[in-house]
Every structure is written in structure tokens, then in C-alpha cells.
């Protein structure tokens, strides 16, 4: 069945039983009008059984309605309880008043009705009280409390049987455990300590009012039957369930009132503590989620002001790299000019940051630096905000009282500052990490783009085999190589190196590619080619930047190479016939060095090399030559020469690999500079 249906059924049963009781009373009235010496119907076993049934069903109904109060709103509950009580009290007052006004024939029946109403009101009130106090006792719920309560309920149920099988023996047996268990339950007043001062005061008032209601009921219980002229057997109401509930409610209320009263003075301390905990939590949350420096600092200042009960406060920051704005101004209840004035007297921020310890001025009027200040403040506390790696600044709080900050306060403020330091550090690291990731993403893209700038495969034919290996020290670099085959079967080849490395070099490298391709299409002689390239590069590069380049034109028809070395590190020509190695040192200035017109006139004639099958031309950039081992020795030209001699019979790829691998082996790690090796093998 649904809970609502059960509740409805229970309510119906309660009402029916109440009507039954009312019936008994009316019958009694009827009988007593006729004959006064008739034995009391009200004392009969039927009456008593109905009464017990009424109690039991009311208890069950109250348990269903009030047994599961989820949220504890103490003053609300007590207020409702009081209002319930007031309904009963006013009912009793009205009934006695009406009773006096009425004439005899109706009076008796009306009294009976009023008595039953009062009974219902009393039952409703005390059962409500029972379950509300149960909720208070179960704050918080523990296994032991539940067991105690179950025992208490058992005693109550036993007490319920009393009116039916009542004897004094019963009474004695049940009273002792009832009192014991009530006292045990009364010790559970933990809820009091969770209230703040105002809530305690309210609870105290409401409980006192309820005690008054209870006393009214107790008095009414004694006087009402007499007043209403109802004759009842005392043993019906004097002991048993309802009495037990009344005793428990009274004892618990009085006990709670006492506890509340004595806890009033200390509540401000607890309130402060809980405020501090809340502040601490707030800062902690800021640490976990917040990336906004201003917000973290604002939280810190608010927490400090609240905890220290300070008059005003502000935060001074030192410039920190990565912080959005080093000039963030955070202050509370103090003007910027006042802060500046105090700051002028004594710059504490640097001092506390250096010492990593707070600085307290107990009496600014007596402090050598602040003595001459016309400030309304008397106490000043300055606490550094820093992390392991960074000094962020300091938080200042002031009070207009002398020696206003106690040790505990300073400790709290210091721990807030510490937490804030961690929060700032986290925020900074996360921010810079995000930025770094973005840069890395950009660099990755740049690397991809640059890789596409270099030819994936070099041209060649049966007589000419070309192979290049190139790698950058950073994501992007300044090495360049390229080769194109002209329609008439000649090859134009370039290997170059832009000064510097990284992004700047990479941009110029792209520029070099543009120049190479533009000029290679024009069928220029090597001389003009290099001179024009110098002019083009001079115009686009910033002062001090330059490009070294070796340009060659291979003419397979003549089996001849014409070469101009423009500042680039000299390559080698290996002659297979006499196994000789020739360093191609003849050359001119790198591109972009001489930006005036003299460049061309200074250029020597191109170096001409005639080749035969088996000969090898090896070009490279200085990343290979200047590769260093741990002792800073250079790989140098001799080792390159040796590698060429050793591998001259191999393919172009084998020779290039041999040189690169041996340089890598030499440095024992990755090369520090961009490197390129370009091998041309004539077959």
C-alpha cells in the first residue's frame, strides 16, 4: 500500500477511536443524569481498552508523520510544536469559559465533548514533542542512540498496557527504567553546539514557551475534570503511556534549556571557528578550481579580514612573470592613497618576502616607521604570500585598536596566505602550461610546413644520383637544400644555412627556397644567380642575419660542375680514379653580408669540376662540422674526409648516412645544431 493510504487509514482509525471515547463520555453523562450511583463507564475495561487503542494508533500515526524529519530546522520545529500546544491550551481555556456560561442540561454533554477535545490536543502535542525530540537526539544518528531509543519505546509500550492491567507493581517496575533511559536520552544534546548565538537564543525561547505549555497541560490535567464536572477514575490517566511521554518531554526540554543557556556565552567562539573553517574551505576551493589571480587574492583578503576581525586590508604584489597583471590592486575598506601613504613609511612587502615570516606592528604609534603617520590604524599585520618557487607579494591587515591580533589569528592568516600561495602557483603553472602547449602545437604545425618546404626526393638519372639527410635541432630550423632538373637536362643544386636557428631561421629558410625556385627557372649563369640571390636576401633579412649557400650547376653533357661557394662551409670532391679528395674552398661572401653593390664584383669565377663515373660530391652544413662531443671537441673536417674515403664506393645514401651516423656517434646524443648532408654521386 502506498504510504498516503496507510496514513489516511491510520487517521481514520484514530478519529474513529476518538469518537468511540467521546461516545463513552456522552454515555456516561447520560447515565449520570439518570442515576448518580451507577459505576463509572469511563473506568470500565472497554473504555480503558479504547483509550489504549487510541494512544497506540496515535503513536503510530505520529511516528509515520514525524518519524522521518529529514532536514533539521530546529526553531521551525519548536515553533510548530508550540503552536500545536497553544491550540490545545486555548481549547482548554475556551472550554472552561463556555462551561461556565452554559446552563445545566447541555452543559454536561458539552463538557464531555470539550474534555475529549482536550485529550486529543494533549495527545497530539506530546506525541509531536516525542518525535521532535527524537529527531534532536538523533543529531547525529548513532547505533547506540538508536538502541537506547528502542529501549525507551519498549518501556513506553509497556506503560501503555498499564491502564488495562494496571497495578502498583507495574508502576514500580516501569518507572525506574523509564527515568534511567530518559536521563540517558537527555544527555544527547549535541545539536546545541551546532547552533550559532542567535539560533541558540531562539531555541531557548521556544523551548521555554513549550515548557510553559507543558506546565499548563499538567495543571489543566489536575483541574479540568473538576472544572468540567467530569468524574473519572484517577488510575486511568495518572500513570501509563501518556504520563511517561509527558515526563520525558519535560525532562528533555528542561535539560535542553539548561544546556542552551550555559552554551550561550561560548557560541561566539564556535561561530568564529566555523567561520574560519568555511574561509579555509573557500581558499581550498579556489586552489582547486580557480585560475583567476584576482579572485584568489580577493578570497584571501576576505578570509583574512573576517578571521582577524580587521578594520581594513589590502594586498601588495610583486611583479611575477606569467601573472596576467602585476598591478592588480586589491584592497578592502581602505583608500588607495592611504595604502600608498602607509607603504611610503615602510615598505614591508620585500622584507616579509625575504624573511618568509609575518611582521606584526602591535602599536603603530610607537613604531619607528609609522610613528609620524597620521593614521587611524593602530595594529598592522603583514604576511608574505609565496610558493616554493615564486614570491607573489604580501597581505596586509590593520585594526584601529592597539595589539588587536592574537597569536591564533596570526596563525590562521598565515595559513590562508600559505594556501593562497599554492593556489597562485597552481594557477600560474596551469596557465603557462596551457600557453606552452599552444606554442608546441604551433611549432608542430610549423615543423610540418617546413618539412614540406624541403624536397621529399631529389631528381636524378642514370648518371647522377643525389641523396640528402637533414634534421633540425629545434622543431624548425634554418638548413635548406634543393635541386631541380632543367628541361635541357642540367641540374641546379643548392645547399644553404641561415644564420641562427629556430623560428627566425625557419622563416628566412622559406625565403631562400622562394629565391632559389624563382631564380632557377630563369636560366641564369651561376655568377648572376648568386649575385641576384644576395640582393634578394639582403632586401628581406634583418640586419646582421645572413645565409651561407653553395650553388652548383651540373651539366651532364659536359660532365662538368660549376660551383660558387657563398660563405658556406666547403664541400668535397672525391675523384675515384686517383682516390683523391679535394676540398672546394674557393668562394665568396655569404648572402646578406654585403648589401651594397660591390658583392658581384668581389665574386671569383665559378669553380669548375669535371667528373667521371664513380666520383662523388659531398656538401654539408656546419651542424656536421661543428658537432661537439662531451669535451667540446668538434667533429671537424678530418672525420668527414675519413668517412667519405671509407664509403666512397657506396651509394649516395650510404655515404650520407655514414657521415651523419658517425657525427651522432661522436656527440653521443642528438646534434645541437641543424644539420644537412647532401651527396651527389656520378655513375
Amino acid at each position: 500500500m502506498r504510504p498516503r493510504v496507510i496514513n489516511g487509514l491510520l487517521l481514520a482509525i484514530v478519529i474513529l477511536l476518538w469518537l468511540l471515547l467521546l461516545g463513552f463520555h456522552l454515555m456516561q453523562q447520560m447515565v449520570s443524569v439518570l442515576r448518580t450511583d451507577q459505576p463509572l463507564i469511563i473506568g470500565s475495561l472497554y473504555y480503558r481498552a479504547s483509550l489504549v487503542a487510541f494512544w497506540l494508533s496515535s503513536l503510530m500515526l505520529a511516528g509515520r508523520l514525524l518519524g522521518n524529519i529529514e532536514k533539521l530546522h530546529i526553531s521551525g520545529l519548536l515553533w510548530r510544536l508550540f503552536m500545536t500546544g497553544m491550540v490545545g491550551v486555548s481549547l482548554i481555556l475556551v472550554s472552561t469559559f463556555v462551561n461556565r456560561m452554559m446552563s445545566n442540561p447541555i452543559k454536561g454533554y458539552l463538557s464531555a465533548f470539550f474534555f475529549c477535545l482536550a485529550l486529543a490536543a494533549v495527545v497530539a502535542y506530546f506525541l509531536s514533542a516525542l518525535f521532535i525530540f527524537r529527531r534532536l537526539i538523533f543529531y547525529p544518528r548513532t547505533r547506540r542512540k538508536i538502541t537506547t531509543w528502542q529501549f525507551f519505546t519498549a518501556v513506553l509500550l509497556v506503560g501503555m498496557v498499564y491502564p488495562v492491567y494496571g497495578s502498583e507493581y507495574w508502576e514500580r517496575i516501569t518507572y525506574v527504567p523509564l527515568v534511567l533511559v530518559s536521563l540517558l536520552l537527555c544527555s544527547h544534546v549535541r545539536w546545541v553546539s551546532y547552533l550559532n548565538f542567535n539560533q541558540k537564543l531562539r531555541a531557548l525561547g521556544l523551548l521555554s514557551l513549550n515548557i510553559l505549555v507543558m506546565i499548563t497541560y499538567l495543571v489543566a490535567e489536575q483541574l479540568l475534570p473538576q472544572q468540567l464536572g467530569i468524574r473519572i477514575d484517577d488510575s486511568v490517566f495518572e500513570v501509563g503511556f501518556l504520563t511517561y511521554v509527558v515526563i520525558f518531554s519535560m525532562v528533555y526540554s528542561i535539560f535542553s534549556v539548561l544546556v542552551l543557556f550555559f552554551n550561550l556565552p561560548t557560541s561566539s567562539v564556535f561561530e568564529r571557528e566555523s567561520l574560519e573553517i568555511a574561509s579555509f574551505e573557500k581558499i581550498n576551493q579556489a586552489i582547486q578550481a580557480n585560475l583567476d589571480f584576482t579572485e584568489i587574492l580577493r578570497t584571501l583578503l576576505d578570509a583574512c579580514l573576517l578571521t582577524a576581525n580587521a578594520r581594513a586590508g589590502w594586498i601588495e604584489l610583486t611583479p611575477v612573470e606569467g601573472m596576467a597583471d602585476p598591478e592588480i590592486k586589491i584592497r578592502s575598506r581602505i583608500s588607495g592613497s592611504d595604502v600608498a601613504e602607509l607603504r611610503e613609511s615602510y615598505n614591508l612587502t620585500q622584507k616579509v618576502l625575504n624573511e618568509q615570516k609575518f611582521y606584526l606592528v602591535r602599536h603603530m604609534g610607537k613604531h619607528k616607521s609609522f610613528r609620524n603617520q597620521r593614521t587611524r590604524f593602530r595594529t598592522l599585520l603583514c604576511v608574505p604570500v609565496y610558493s616554493n618557487s615564486t614570491a607573489y607579494g604580501a597581505v596586509f591587515i590593520v585594526s584601529d585598536l592597539v595589539n588587536a591580533f592574537e597569536e591564533v589569528t596570526i596563525k590562521s592568516v598565515s595559513s590562508y596566505a600559505e594556501q593562497a600561495g599554492i593556489a597562485l602557483e597552481n594557477a600560474r603553472l596551469i596557465k603557462s602550461n596551457i600557453e606552452l602547449e599552444r606554442y608546441q602545437e604551433q611549432l608542430k604545425i610549423a615543423k610540418e610546413v617546413q618539412t614540406q618546404l624541403l624536397p621529399r626526393q631529389l631528381p636524378g638519372d642514370r648518371q647522377i644520383e643525389m641523396f640528402a639527410r637533414s634534421e633540425n635541432a629545434d622543431e624548425v630550423g634554418g638548413d635548406y637544400f634543393d635541386a631541380i632538373k632543367t628541361p635541357d637536362g642540367r641540374y641546379r643544386v643548392a645547399i644553404g644555412d641561415v644564420s641562427g636557428k629556430g623560428t627566425t631561421a625557419a622563416f628566412y629558410m622559406a625565403e631562400v627556397k622562394g629565391v632559389f625556385h624563382a631564380l632557377a627557372a630563369l636560366d641564369l649563369d651561376p655568377h648572376t644567380f648568386v649575385a641576384t640571390a644576395n640582393q634578394a636576401m639582403s632586401e628581406c633579412m634583418q640586419k646582421g642575419a645572413f645565409v651561407t649557400l653553395t650553388y652548383l650547376e651540373i651539366n651532364p653533357a659536359l660532365k662538368q660542375v660549376a660551383m660558387i661557394r657563398a660563405g658556406h662551409c666547403p664541400g668535397y670532391f672525391y675523384c675515384a680514379a686517383n682516390q683523391s679528395l679535394r676540398s672546394l674552398r674557393e668562394g665568396t661572401l655569404g648572402l646578406g653580408i654585403l648589401r651594397s653593390g660591390n658583392y658581384r664584383s668581389m665574386m671569383p669565377a665559378p669553380t669548375l669540376v669535371s667528373y667521371r663515373p664513380g666520383d662523388v660530391l659531398v656538401l654539408f652544413t656546419d651542424g656536421i662540422v661543428e658537432a661537439r662531443d662531451e669535451a667540446a671537441n668538434e667533429f671537424g673536417y678530418e672525420r668527414i674526409e675519413a668517412m667519405i674515403r671509407d664509403h666512397a664506393r657506396g651509394s649516395a645514401g650510404e655515404i650520407a648516412d655514414a657521415i651523419v651516423n658517425s657525427a651522432k656517434l661522436f656527440t653521443r646524443s642528438k646534434l645541437q645544431d641543424d644539420y644537412t648532408v647532401l651527396v651527389i654521386r656520378f655513375t
Binding site: 644564420s499 641562427g500 646582421g544 651561407t548 660563405g567 665568396t588 661572401l589 653580408i593 654585403l594 668538434e634
Partner: protein, 116 residues
């Protein structure tokens, strides 16, 4: 990096100490810029305590060549180690009129300025 600067009779001697790489060459650049701006275009750079020069270091000298030439000045580098001399000569810088690169044996610098 430490760069000593001595005012000679007809020229200024700069003596950088250590590696002339991307970081340290900035200081040399500032020194030379100040001199050139002040019209002191007779500059001698003593390489006796320079152990290494990167392309950024070379860039410093290259970037003032035109200006020094146009003001009729002279840049003389002396006491270069073999390695550093190679770096300059491979780049072709030894072929310029206004940049004179002396071999380690040549220590007499003054004559190159007096001629002018």
C-alpha cells in the same frame, strides 16, 4: 658577458671574454652600437679571450659593416684563434675592405688605423 673597453689614441679596443653566442653577443652589439652612434668608427676587437663564435656573434660584426664603411671607419679583429679565423674566412669576411682580420701572429693593430 664581460667586455673591456679601452680608449686608445686613434681607436677603441673592445675585449670580449668567453663565448660569443646568441646570448652574450647582445652585449657586444650594444657596445658597438654605442660607439658607432657616437661616431667612433675606429674599432678594434681583441679576440684573445674569445673561445667560440656563433652565427649570431658573426651577425654583430656584419650588421655594422655598412655603417662603419659609410662613415669611413675601420673594424680590426686581432688575435683570433685558428678555429675562429676559419669561421670568418669560410664566410668570406676576410675579403672585405673595412673589416680587417689579423692572424694570431699579427699583434700590431695601430698601423691599420693610422693609415686612414
Amino acid at each position: 658577458m664581460e667586455i673591456r673597453q679601452i680608449q686608445q689614441e686613434h681607436y677603441v679596443t673592445l675585449s670580449p671574454v668567453g663565448d660569443l653566442d646568441a646570448h652574450s653577443s647582445v652585449h657586444l652589439d650594444e657596445k658597438i652600437q654605442k660607439l658607432v652612434e657616437a661616431g667612433k668608427v675606429m674599432i678594434h676587437v681583441d679576440f684573445s679571450e674569445v673561445t667560440y663564435i656563433s652565427s649570431a656573434g658573426l651577425g654583430v660584426f656584419i650588421s655594422y659593416l655598412d655603417e662603419i664603411a659609410s662613415q669611413g671607419g675601420q673594424l680590426v679583429l686581432s688575435q683570433l684563434s685558428d678555429n675562429i679565423y676559419d669561421v670568418f674566412s669560410i664566410l668570406g669576411l676576410n675579403k672585405l675592405d673595412h673589416l680587417i682580420i689579423l692572424s694570431p701572429e699579427e699583434k700590431e693593430v695601430a698601423t691599420y688605423f693610422v693609415q686612414k
